[in-house]
């Protein structure tokens, strides 16, 4: 029963949006929209599951004076400060301190981590330069052609021949391969989604056979 009830629920709730996809009747779509809002709320309730784990593990580190415990203090301080003003809110939306901290700390940290990708993409490209087989060489050549085709120097070197080749690569072979991947991946996903709805796949329910 402890497994059967959740599986029956998965089936019923899973079939509902499929039904709603084909039935435009207001009664049906209203329930579907409500379900959507409800589940966003359920997901919001889940956030403390993670927060508690993070806080407890860091408090333990501080208590035990583990190596690097100071950084756990920094983490918890940042979390408390931000969460405090976040929950408090302001007269219109967010608290001013919350917005200030976002703009001057969280946002630049996000942007800088994102910008590190320039270095990582360069090191990945460097590794691709040491292509060890035919497939890797094909990948490398396509990458170089498209990369040079997007910058003026590429056309300067080749007398304007690179841009059309680069565009051709993007719109023909690349688009074809992507289409193949999308159809294949969608079939794989659909098959797995049907397994979940039918209760054949149930790893996500976790431990306990009963």
């Amino acid at each position: 029963m402890r497994r059967t009830i959740p599986l029956i629920l998965t089936f019923c709730v899973g079939m509902y949006p499929i039904f709603a996809f084909f039935v435009p009747h207001r009664v049906v779509t209203n329930i579907n929209q409500n379900l959507d809002t409800y589940l966003v709320i359920v997901a919001a309730f889940a956030l403390p599951l993670g927060v508690v784990n993070l806080v407890m593990s860091n408090i333990n580190k501080i208590k035990k004076k583990d190596k690097g415990w100071f950084y756990s203090v920094v983490l918890i301080a940042g979390l408390c400060l931000m969460a405090f003003y976040g929950i408090m809110g302001g007269d219109q939306g967010f608290h001013a301190h919350f917005q200030w901290m976002f703009e001057n700390a969280v946002s630049p940290l996000q942007a800088t981590m994102f910008s590190l990708l320039a270095f990582y993409v360069a090191s990945a490209a460097y590794r691709a330069f040491r292509a060890r087989n035919v497939e890797a060489t094909v990948l490398l050549i396509a990458a170089i052609v498209v990369m040079l085709g997007r910058i003026p120097i590429g056309d300067m070197i080749t007398g304007g021949r690179l841009t059309p080749i680069s565009e051709w690569l993007m719109t023909k072979p690349n688009a074809a391969a992507q289409r193949g991947i999308i159809i294949g991946a969608a079939l794989g996903a659909a098959s797995m989604q049907i397994r979940v709805i039918l209760g054949i796949e149930q790893t996500y329910l976790g431990s306990g056979k009963d």
Binding site: H25, R26, Y120, L139, L187, T203, G206
Partner: protein, 376 residues
């Protein structure tokens, strides 16, 4: 005589007025207005259609009785020939007419109606999706039933799968941990569920070999489900005592903060093997390149097309798109799950035949297959 004159003058005036009217009508850019319920919708809307030409604007007017006051509800270009009036009350009579501003005057077209909007029970334009959905369900159920009855279904071995076992073996030999990153999306994403299936297989191996594993999470629901999955795997492997809650941790909800924490973990703890399986965005390359720089064996798997090139260049093996889902079914070692792979292959073949036929038929000038596959 006077009477005759009056009659003649009257006739001339009537003809003149009629001439002016017909002149006005011929200048009117849209005629034959029709108002009908929008088909296959949830109600509350009426489709208007007319015959029109030219780029002039026509005003669309609506009333609830033919002789009632018509109010302007919108405008359209005459040659568009259609307009959809939305947010109406169902089961209420509506009347429409078009108006055309000509200089200082406004010419009015004939009244169309009554028309009522109603809510419908089937989106007829989605018949193709209904057939495909039914086909998919029938084939999955049929092949799974065949597999349950013991019929042997051939599914070729996916080349990346042996790499998973080897990667766990390597970590065991080196006495270092395995980092399993289940992507950054929640359980609403099917890739995450596929990733949890593979996590179960990996953690069963770590339980048997006694290898350390850590699963850092971005999503709290995935964190909770991953902990249960690993716990279950250790129980099934007969080593429940070796399971530690710290094996599955929560880091943070932000994509790049998560990437920063995981890369720091990689550099400081130097895992022998990294699994990056699930749904990823821009952080994919940060994670995979850092893993590469510490010399870890890396197995990736995702159906997110923009991230595939990065995983292919930075990881030792990548499960591409559909392979990710197939791998999760294959690794479960349950024949019924293989049945569903068979079903997706049959649909794949049907799609290829349909597309092939569509290309041939199109060459003969017919768009019929393209029309059948049309989606909205």
């Amino acid at each position: 005589m006077r009477t005759s004159c009056l009659v003649i003058i009257s006739i001339v005036l009537v003809l003149a007025a009629g001439g002016a009217w017909s002149q006005g009508m011929s200048g009117f850019p849209a005629t034959e207005l029709r108002a009908v319920d929008t088909p296959s919708d949830g109600g509350g809307s009426i489709d208007l259609e007319w015959e029109g030409e030219g780029l002039q604007f026509v005003l669309i007017m609506r009333a609830t009785s033919p002789g009632g006051e018509f109010e302007t509800i919108g405008d359209a270009i005459a040659s568009d020939g259609s307009y959809t009036d939305m947010r109406l009350d169902d089961q209420t009579d509506y009347y429409y007419r078009l108006a055309y501003p000509a200089g200082e005057d406004t010419l009015l077209g004939a009244v169309a109606g009554p028309a009522q909007s109603k809510t419908n029970w089937f989106r007829s334009y989605r018949k193709n999706a209904l057939v495909l959905t039914a086909l998919m369900f029938i084939l999955v159920i049929s092949y799974v039933t065949q597999a349950r009855k013991g019929k042997r279904l051939f599914i070729r071995r996916i080349s990346g799968l042996s790499a998973i076992d080897e990667a766990v073996g390597r970590a065991t030999e080196m006495g270092r941990k395995i980092l399993y990153i289940p992507g950054i999306l929640s359980l609403s994403e099917i890739q995450t569920i596929a990733s949890l299936s593979i996590l179960q297989h990996v953690s069963k191996l770590t339980a048997v070999y006694g290898t350390d594993i850590e699963v850092p999470n971005k999503d709290p629901l995935v964190f909770s489900a991953a902990r249960e999955t690993v716990k279950q795997a250790y129980m099934e492997a007969g080593r429940p005592d070796q399971f530690k809650e710290e094996m599955v941790t929560y880091l943070t909800y932000d994509q790049f903060a998560y990437a920063a924490s995981v890369t720091a973990k990689m550099v400081r703890e130097r895992p022998a093997t990294n699994f990056l399986i699930g749904s990823f965005f821009a952080e994919s390359l940060i994670l995979a390149e850092t893993g590469q720089s510490i010399g870890a064996i890396q197995i990736a798997g995702t159906a997110d097309i923009p991230q595939l090139p990065f995983f292919v260049t930075a990881c030792d093996y990548t499960l591409l798109g559909e392979e990710l889902y197939a791998a999760s079914a294959y690794l479960s070692k349950e024949p019924v799950l293989l049945g569903s792979i068979k079903a997706q292959d049959v649909v794949k073949a049907i799609i290829m035949v349909t597309v092939g036929a569509g290309i041939v038929i199109l060459a003969f000038g017919s768009n019929i297959v393209r029309d059948v596959l049309f989606t909205r």
